[in-house]
Every structure is written in structure tokens, then in C-alpha cells.
């Protein structure tokens, strides 16, 4: 196993005292890259560096950021370009962007400044979910400090390119993390996703060309420009996705937290970096690799790719949790990389209960616009309820599959797919547990907190 790579870019200011303040961040190097880039590098050259960095969107879809920027139409004097930062972090299991905004908001703000220069935008909206109060305060203070110093204003670093950044608060809707829904929410509408095309790069916020990027993607931009796109790309262990990234682990590990590593760590390495399993007597049962919309993986499943041409051939015969975390590798395993924040579940977890928990979430969060999603999420949640309370039959297990299949690909946005795919994986990989619930009159002791409940109560006594 490769030894732990301690290279830190995104997080290199995290441990400083008051790392969120302008003075500390500035002393530690913030805005030196922005100053250099804005005064010496042409916008096209900035775009070229980001393209060379090969960075794939860190929000979950994994679309190359440089390519996305390239979709902007040629400059049109009648149009303005907007940069919108997706900071509506709400995918269950995901808590990485919050660390950037709370510990190093100036890295994100510097990234916004460089990106605005690259894409010709004058205004950035950072769409933050309103629950993240500390993040919001620190971003707003950061923006205030930048305005006071003229870094945001009519002539940042003396160049003729006016810039401003606004924080826009969400109001508690998971769906607003979907980019077109986010744009509707930004415009003051209900957060219902829009049909694509047109894509936001052509017609986004207020009908204008708009680039929507995740917090982590934009926070990486200063480092990409600092060390060079190709060098940054080479930090990765995988060919098709560059750089370092944030990894998060929650659930049954000793020390759940967010850390930085090169793209391509394996799930096993991630668990090891969190001190291993919470209780060695309860082995790993399943892990959701990148937020709740990504299908669950089992440690006992082995990669079956004897064909040398198969993209996963290098890991033939190895456990799924020993495959590097990448957009393409995870897709090869029938799951997704998502946000790269894993939920680790040990043997105390009943998978019917786990599935129900997530299905309830999606039922609550479906915007209701498309029938397959509105109805499908509700039925999946209800069938799981029936399985658990003992009123389901074995046929209901197949009904879960049928409903899921009818949801996929039939809706405006990906929420329905993001519900159906994990549901299908739960049923396929833990079918025995679902059938057992149907046969045995429900799930008897299905609480999901068996591993920790005594601990919590014990500490209270």
C-alpha cells in the first residue's frame, strides 16, 4: 500500500489559528496568486491552466471544470456572465465544503476572483444553505474585508475588471444543490429544476451565461494557477482526474473527519485514515462511497475484470473497497464517486432500515415536479415502512425494484436516479435481509444506532 501522502494544498491553512480571517490567510499566502494572475495572465491562459489541471467537478457529477468553462458562448456585449458557487452542501454523508468555508473562506474567495477573471464575470453569487451559519458569517466577513481593501471593487489589483461577490442564502431544500434548481432559487423562485438544454453556460442565472461550480472545485483554482495545471494534475493517482481532493468519512469509524489526499485513495485507505472501524468486533458491512445517492459497496465483492482491456483490469480479483476512488473507476463498479464522502456501516446496521432512512429523505426532498419522482420516492419509502413493520410480502421486494426502474431516466433532474440507484443496490446486495423482513413479519430490532446508543447513554449517566 502506498504510504500516506501528506501533500496539502486545499487544507494547508486549516490548522492555523484564526485561519478564517483575512490577516492570517493573507500572511499565509492568500491572494498572492490572484494578484499575480490578474496582473500578468490573460483570461484564456487561465482557462488553459485549469483545463490542463484536469480537475473534475467536486460536487458529485465529476464534469471537467475546464471543459465546462469552455462551453461559455463567445463574448457578447449584450450579455453578462455570472459565476455561481454551489455551496448548498446537503447530500447526506457530505460535509467537506463546509470545512473550506469555515476554516479557509479566503481560498474560495480567491478562487472566485481568479475564475471571474478567466470567464469574464463581474459578479459571483455564493449559494450557501442557510443552516451553515458559521460559514456564512465568515464568508460575509471575508467579502467585507476584500471590499475594504479594494480587492473586490472597480479595479481589483489595479486592473480594469470590476468584481463583486454576494452570499445568497438557501432556505432548506436539498434539491437546490441541483444546478438549475439552484439558479431558480437564486432568482427568487421555487427551487424546481429546469429542463436542459439550454445548459447554464448558455442560459443560466437571469437568462445569462452562467458557470456553476462546487466550492471545492473553485477553492482549488488558486493552487492550480500557483503550481501550474499540469503539475497539479500530476498530484493525482489516477489518469483522468487531477489533483488532490477532500475526503470525508462518517459513520462507524473511530475518528470520522474530512482530510485531503491525492485523487484515487481507496475506501480502505479512507477508513484507515479515520482510525479504522469503530469497534473491531463489528466488521465492515457496507459503505456508501460518495454521498447517499451513490450505490452501496460491500467489502466481500471482488472486481471481476479478467479482460486486459477492461478499465478495472488492474484491480481484478481485489475487493471493491480496494479500488481507487475516481469518477471512472467507481462508475466501473456500478456506483458513483459522488462527493467522495463515504458513509461506513458496520455489521450492526440493518440494511432495510438504512434504505428506509434514505428513502424517507428522498421522499421529503423530492420537489414534486415530475410524477415518477414524486410518486416513486413516496412508494419506495412506504414499501420500506411496510417491510419493517411486517405488513409486506416477498413480492414487495420486487416491487421496490420495479418502482425504481420506472423512476430512472424519466425525470427532469437526477434526484429520481439518485434515489433509485441506491435503492436497487440495497436490494441487490442485501436481498436476503429484505426477504427476511418480508417473511419474518418485519424487522425486530432495526434501530440503526445499536453500535453507539449504549455509549451515548452511558456517557450521560
Amino acid at each position: 500500500m502506498p504510504e500516506i501522502d501528506t501533500t496539502r494544498f486545499l487544507t494547508d491553512r486549516y490548522d492555523l489559528v484564526d485561519s478564517h480571517t483575512y490577516s492570517v490567510a493573507e500572511k499565509a499566502g492568500a491572494y498572492t496568486t490572484a494578484r499575480k494572475v490578474l496582473t500578468t495572465v490573460q483570461p484564456d491562459a487561465i482557462k488553459a491552466e485549469v483545463k490542463a489541471a484536469n480537475i473534475r467537478g467536486r460536487g458529485g457529477a465529476g464534469f471537467p471544470a475546464g471543459v465546462k468553462w469552455g462551453f461559455l458562448p463567445p463574448k457578447d456585449p449584450n450579455k453578462v456572465v455570472y459565476l455561481v458557487i454551489n455551496a448548498d452542501e446537503g447530500e447526506p454523508g457530505t460535509f467537506k465544503d463546509r470545512t473550506i468555508m469555515e476554516k479557509d473562506p479566503h481560498r474560495l474567495l480567491e478562487g472566485c476572483i481568479i475564475t471571474m477573471r478567466a470567464i469574464g464575470a463581474h459578479v459571483t453569487y455564493i449559494y450557501v444553505r442557510c443552516e451553515l451559519v458559521t460559514a456564512i458569517k465568515r464568508l460575509e466577513q471575508g467579502i467585507k474585508d476584500l471590499r475594504a481593501r479594494g480587492i473586490l471593487g472597480k479595479r481589483p489589483f489595479g486592473i480594469d475588471h470590476a468584481m463583486d461577490i454576494h452570499v445568497h442564502l438557501g432556505a432548506g431544500a436539498y434539491i437546490c444543490g441541483e444546478e438549475t434548481s439552484l439558479l431558480n432559487s437564486l432568482e427568487g423562485l421555487r427551487g424546481e429544476p429546469r429542463l436542459k438544454p439550454p445548459f447554464p453556460a448558455v442560459s443560466g442565472a437571469f437568462g445569462m451565461p452562467t458557470i456553476v461550480n462546487n466550492v471545492e472545485t473553485i477553492a482549488a483554482v488558486p493552487d492550480i494557477l500557483k503550481i501550474g495545471g499540469a503539475e497539479w494534475s500530476a498530484l493525482s493517482r489516477l489518469p483522468n482526474d487531477g489533483g488532490t481532493r477532500l475526503y470525508g468519512v462518517s459513520g462507524h469509524v473511530k475518528k470520522p473527519h474530512v482530510f485531503e489526499g491525492p485523487v484515487g485513495l481507496t475506501l480502505r485507505e479512507m477508513i484507515d485514515r479515520c482510525g479504522g472501524m469503530l469497534d473491531e468486533s463489528r466488521p465492515l458491512k457496507g459503505v456508501i462511497p460518495g454521498g447517499s445517492s451513490t450505490p452501496v459497496l460491500r467489502p466481500e465483492d471482488l472486481v471481476n475484470a479478467p479482460d486486459a482491456a477492461h478499465p478495472l483490469h488492474a484491480w481484478h480479483g481485489k475487493s471493491h473497497i480496494d479500488v481507487p476512488m475516481g469518477v471512472d473507476t467507481m462508475r466501473g463498479l456500478g456506483t458513483m464517486l459522488g462527493t467522495c464522502c463515504a458513509i461506513v456501516m458496520d455489521s450492526s446496521v440493518n440494511m432495510v432500515e438504512a434504505a428506509r432512512n434514505l428513502m424517507r429523505f428522498y421522499h421529503h426532498e423530492s420537489c414534486g415536479q415530475c410524477t415518477p419522482c414524486r410518486e416513486g420516492t413516496g412508494w419506495l419509502s412506504e414499501i420500506c415502512d411496510r417491510l419493517i413493520d411486517g405488513s409486506a410480502t416477498e413480492a414487495d421486494v420486487d416491487l421496490l425494484v420495479e418502482v425504481s426502474n420506472n423512476m430512472m431516466g424519466n425525470t427532469i433532474c437526477a434526484l429520481a436516479d439518485g434515489t433509485a440507484m441506491p435503492m436497487l443496490a440495497f436490494v441487490r446486495k442485501f436481498r436476503g435481509e429484505f426477504l427476511e423482513a418480508a417473511r419474518n413479519g418485519g424487522v425486530k430490532d432495526g434501530r440503526l444506532d445499536l453500535a453507539v446508543a449504549p455509549l451515548l447513554k452511558g456517557r450521560a449517566a
Binding site: 437571469f206 446496521v349 434514505l358 444506532d449
Partner: protein, 198 residues
């Protein structure tokens, strides 16, 4: 009497409109600042916002009903959100909720016997690595144990003035002056934390 913002909040609202190319885009931030003052989004607030935004009340109501964080009913001066999504759930969120229900004497969706707390269930609050966790007013409390939870609730309860008749109307009791959130720290979107755009 129709709803009105305080003069400082009114000034902040004026500034909000300068941030966006359309008036309508100020809808969410305007509703946030109204809720901060009023405690919840009443019919009066909707009328006020509609007038300011140049929208119909139906359009504003459509927005209000879409988003979980806009309270469509009066809530107690303190709101406890308990996250029950998977990462928190497998780290003991149910124990936290059961403890809250027992202590406050109400179920999720209800208001405590003393009228000081509303208890609500939240979906993922992006604190998965610090589970179990709650949001109390505008602060996240993470890595909770029951003892820690009691300590936090005791502190907030002590700071909240007694409510005359909790069952009759929690709305009447909610003014910014009694809000612990307002007393502890200036909310992120409070007027003093912003600066007029040049």
C-alpha cells in the same frame, strides 16, 4: 396592523435589492430577514414581501411553502432541529431525539410544555463527521452526548424568559428581544454585518 420591518432591517432590505438584476431575486433573503424579526412567515409577512418584491401573494406563498426553513406556523423562541439522516442515525440520532422528546415533553413537530422550545426533525445538516448533532437556533452543536445536550438546553432555557401561557400562542411571545439567537450573536444576515455596495 400590517407587518413592517424595523428601520435597520428596512435599510438592509433596500441594500438587498441592489445585489441582483431583478427585484424578484431578493425574495429569499427578504423572507429570511422578515422571519428573523417576526419568528415565522405569517400572512402579513407574505403581503409585505409581495408588495416589496412586486409579486402577487400567491407567488410569494409558493416560495414560502417550498422551503423547509420558512416557518409557516408560529414557533417557540428557540427551535431545535435534530438531524435524523443516515450518518447521524447510525451514530445515535434517535437517542438524541428520544431524549429531547422526553425532556421537552413534546414530539417532533411540537412545542415544549414550557413554550420555550420547538422541536423539529431536520434532513442532513452537513455535520456527518461530527454526528450526532442538532441545530439550536442558528448554532450547530456536534459530537453530542446526552449530558452535553442537557447542558446546552439548560443554558438556553435559562436565558429564555418564562412564557406566560405557552399553550395559547407561541407567536405572541416571539419577539427578537427574547430570541436567544438574537441575544447571543448577530445573525449572519443582520443589518450590521453588511456593507452598502459601492
Amino acid at each position: 396592523m400590517p407587518f413592517q420591518l424595523t428601520p435597520e432591517r428596512e435599510k438592509y432590505a433596500d441594500e438587498l435589492f441592489t445585489r441582483y438584476p431583478t427585484k424578484r431575486a431578493a425574495c429569499l433573503p427578504l423572507l429570511h430577514v422578515c422571519q428573523e424579526q417576526n419568528g415565522w412567515i405569517s400572512e402579513d409577512v407574505i403581503e409585505f414581501a409581495a408588495t416589496r418584491l412586486g409579486l402577487s401573494t400567491a407567488q410569494v406563498k409558493g416560495v414560502v411553502t417550498f422551503y423547509t426553513m420558512f416557518h409557516q406556523r408560529p414557533v417557540a423562541p428557540n427551535v431545535v432541529w435534530v438531524c435524523r439522516t443516515l450518518s447521524c442515525e447510525i451514530r445515535g440520532a434517535k437517542v438524541i431525539q428520544e431524549h429531547l422528546e422526553k425532556r421537552l415533553g413534546c414530539h417532533v413537530g411540537g412545542t415544549s410544555k414550557d413554550g420555550k422550545f420547538s422541536l423539529l426533525k431536520a434532513e442532513c445538516l452537513a455535520g456527518c463527521g461530527q454526528a450526532p448533532m442538532i441545530q439550536l437556533n442558528d448554532e450547530l452543536h456536534e459530537n453530542l452526548t446526552l449530558a452535553e445536550l442537557d447542558r446546552i438546553l439548560d443554558a438556553v432555557a435559562a436565558k429564555t424568559p418564562a412564557i406566560a401561557s405557552p399553550s395559547s400562542s407561541v407567536a405572541a411571545s416571539h419577539t427578537p428581544a427574547t430570541s436567544v439567537a438574537a441575544a447571543q450573536s448577530a445573525p449572519s444576515h443582520a443589518p450590521e454585518s453588511t456593507e452598502a455596495k459601492e
